[in-house]
Symmetry: C2
Subunit: 215 residues, 2 copies
């Protein structure tokens, strides 16, 4: 039917338009940070506000679309490092390094992904705490948990354990990376090595200090 054709055509051009809008939004957000106003984004795209709202609903929708784009990209490169054919230690180090290199190369993107302006929406008065934290961390945690569950032989309760570890390791990587990016206390390689050592149980192996405090 022609109607079907028309709608598909329109959908296609709508998607095209959406992509253009997202790219404009990207430029503005990367330039101005998350405080970028809808007006500014619309201006950058050469249009006016209501069109943005027609496409993305509200500011949260636009930001979610943007975040998804970048998140997908980052996750793809992480997956590559994670799936490389190498021993586990090397895979871990390579994944850590990939992540750190990414946030080092695009700090503005990183900042946007990790600290997207809070949803100012009403509703959800209840106990949905935590639902607002950066979705990127959640996705990375779940993904890593799956990889661990697939590749590592944990005993019973393996899946629960794997998911916990996935989120934990991602959190470790994130917090250490965030701090490192701010203070730059050491090289990337040193950071990678220290984190991998931590995961490799060196905290458990190390002795107490002889000159400990008191006892």
């Amino acid at each position: 039917m022609d109607i079907a054709h028309r709608t598909t055509d329109q959908q296609k051009s709508a998607e095209q338009r959406r992509r253009e809008l997202l790219e404009a939004a990207d430029r503005v957000v990367l330039r101005d940070g998350p405080k970028a106003s809808m007006n500014a984004i619309a201006a950058e795209a050469g249009i006016t506000k209501p069109i943005l709202y027609r496409h993305f609903g509200d500011k949260g929708g636009l930001y979610r679309a943007l975040a998804t784009r970048h998140t997908d990209a980052l996750l793809a490169s992480l997956r590559a490092a994670l799936d490389a054919p190498a021993d586990r230690r090397r895979r871990v180090e390579s994944t850590l390094d990939t992540y750190l290199a990414s946030i080092e190369a695009m700090p503005q993107v990183y900042r946007f992904l990790m600290h997207p302006a809070e949803e100012t929406h009403q509703a959800e008065q209840g106990f949905d705490v935590g639902r607002h934290s950066a979705p990127l961390l959640r996705r990375m945690g779940e993904e890593l948990g799956q990889v661990i569950a697939e590749r590592v032989d944990l005993g019973p309760a393996a899946e629960a354990q794997a998911r916990i570890w996935g989120h934990g390791i991602v959190g470790m990587m994130h917090a250490a990376g965030d701090w490192w990016l701010g203070e730059r206390p050491c090289s990337r390689a040193e950071l990678v090595r220290a984190l991998a050592d931590l995961l490799w149980g060196r905290l458990a192996e190390a002795d107490d200090r002889a000159d400990g405090p008191g006892f």
Copy 2:
């Protein structure tokens, strides 16, 4: 001098007032989340906006004051667990459990601390990335790093290593806790155990799965 007396009296009552205001703000923020408006907080305190601004400068100042209060409280209880006279594994588990119990008991406080509304201020166009992430995490990371440096005998470059580990472990705890608080996939004790196991190197020890993907 009387003038001195007066000023001290006034300072004291000013501090008193400040505390009252903070408590009112606390109630509102815990009820409405970080979207609580200055008007609402002022109303809860029985006064009007400009007074809040006289005391705290701007919204960021108020939120910083609030956050400092809660952060201090949480850090104190963590320090207790961290400094208990027990072996390392037990201390780690007890610290994890203390943290998780806290965020479980006061999810609203937790949410406020971890996702304080972004500074909408201009300025700081530069590369101060990461400076905005929840200061609680930074403080916890630094503190833990110090404890590790004091108590654990790492080789050379011990301090750098300890700080990295401090931030990494705190991040692990935070991310896992955030996820756990949202989905409640297991009991607190199980989570504590799994995380401690992770830190104890069980990821390195475990074998590859026999039925791995492909190879």
